[in-house]
Symmetry: C2
Subunit: 367 residues, 2 copies
Amino acid sequence: MKNITKPTLLLDESRCRNNINRMVAKTRANNITLRPHFKTHQSREVGQWYYEAGVRNITVSSLEMARYFAGKWEDITLAVPFNVRAIQDYNELSRGQKMILMVDSLETTAFLAKQAERETALWIEIDSGDHRTGLAPDDHDTIRAIADLITNSPKLTLKGFYSHAGHSYKSRGRDQVLSVFQETKNIMTGIREAFHNTHGPFHLNIGDTPNCSLGDDLSWTDSISPGNFVFYDIVQSVIGSCQESQIAVCMVCPVISKNAKRMEIAIHGGVVHFGKDLLGTDQGNLFGRVVRLNNEGWGEALEGCRLQYISQEHGIIKADKETFGNTKVGDLIAVLPIHSCITADCMRGYTTLEGKKIDHMKGGTIS
Amino acid sequence: MKNITKPTLLLDESRCRNNINRMVAKTRANNITLRPHFKTHQSREVGQWYYEAGVRNITVSSLEMARYFAGKWEDITLAVPFNVRAIQDYNELSRGQKMILMVDSLETTAFLAKQAERETALWIEIDSGDHRTGLAPDDHDTIRAIADLITNSPKLTLKGFYSHAGHSYKSRGRDQVLSVFQETKNIMTGIREAFHNTHGPFHLNIGDTPNCSLGDDLSWTDSISPGNFVFYDIVQSVIGSCQESQIAVCMVCPVISKNAKRMEIAIHGGVVHFGKDLLGTDQGNLFGRVVRLNNEGWGEALEGCRLQYISQEHGIIKADKETFGNTKVGDLIAVLPIHSCITADCMRGYTTLEGKKIDHMKGGTIS
């Protein structure tokens, strides 16, 4: 810690490996495959921790990310409706790495049937309620037409049906998540029933951290692809997917200014470090929760402190009297991020509690 | 455009140079110095366009950024209260580049008096109403104590008083901005009156794009350090700092999915590309305005379309009937960003309308 001179993303390797191992154990107990989403950590080193835990199939959100991780995994799911403009990049990548793509339209499926150079497995995306992308589960005509196109194409195979129930993020507490979980289960098992006889066997996959953290019986699906659970964050703790003590990343920022009248502490640490995800609360916008650094890493959140405002490079912490009094310009303040995937994407690198540097795909020339 | 396969940040060089030249002309007419803030573009090439327009003094928001731009400029202002933990980096940098630092506390000033290896000029930051950092303008005791400490230290010199009137961003329309402008002028000229006899001569500097774009008489200050105006964005057009036709950057994203029932178009382009700045509107959250690409770049915003939702890699555009009907999977959609500084920071590189790649400080190994 003594050597930290600028905003730094700490990674608690032990918490992170525990998060990985817990999810691996859960998928084993349910006899299903874990296809963790690597968009959260975007790190080969963290990928290696998954590998050591037995994971062989992964999920990504861009072709660049697939390329970064390629070469080590049985298959990589690209869990965004395929971008047909990137066909050349895909064809190059698929020479050396088995990929599973995702489609939610006849147009893209027909394009791949013509343009994919190698045999390509496809997930058909089902919208189980998130209303982002994917086919409506009752749109059997389109689903069938796409499935037919796939099975009739010599290059394409139907891997199965994939759903990201992202609306689980609106849940607060276990019961609300489990209600989304049940809904997702009904929709996806309904798809299996409707198409099993004509297009089976195929797999079902679901992918969000709240459902995968809180849902107990996952045996009705074949694989899951949550990502965020590897680090968790304040949003997940508010949803109830995790305890705050499971959050595995923490921003550490130098104190640059104090305002006694407003009881505010300014840190070097802003939107380019945290991202701009926030939680609306009774006390106003929350951009992160303040924790105390200790010899083992960091402790519990300080209830009287909150990161209440961020601009490009500044963060403003509202502090309680004690914290304000104990904090000097030049100290370090630790903040749990609202949305760890985005904070990691901004920071592009990690430092473990032992001081080891951990890679991020976007880690560039400025470190 | 035909070669674009992934989210790409277009830069209209001609609009950008016009934005630069207009601000340069304005500062010349007022006989003051332009110290443009380079946190917006973070590009040596765009910096060169400023240089060609006669600019010799610049402003940055981190030591890394100062290091990136060092070597070409008469002086570089680091416009964030100095982070004392980075003293070694500062001392190294100041060997080859004249820097002007900023302070708003006795502690940091005393630290620099002891630890700065070379003569160092300082801005004292005044909070003219933004309430982020800086000293309250009526806190004459602290201001005087800091100014005394500076003038009594052999290493330090008082450059003057700096204020970022960031609360101008809450303004809507010229009149509201000009009211903040007048307030800022009153505060800063009040500081000059109070300290001129004891600590003068020194400079005054103000730094936000709305005030610097709309304020006509800038002759009462000595220099200005706006940054965003180099690109402008939707926020600035809503404030009234610019016309939409002056916005010089535009995201171009591939269409990956369509939903006819909801009249929505999904693009590859999300939080990791745009950032998550938004504008609340009567129609809900706005993450960007859709424009039509044409042979010269892009045209006016399509009133019936809006980027209404973004997640990590996906964007969802609500479309009017005509745009929805004319748009196919695989097309490109152009979106004006809400906050160009952050979008540029996420994208880490530009492509001009002529297809030339323009650097960004954070441009890394993944392009």
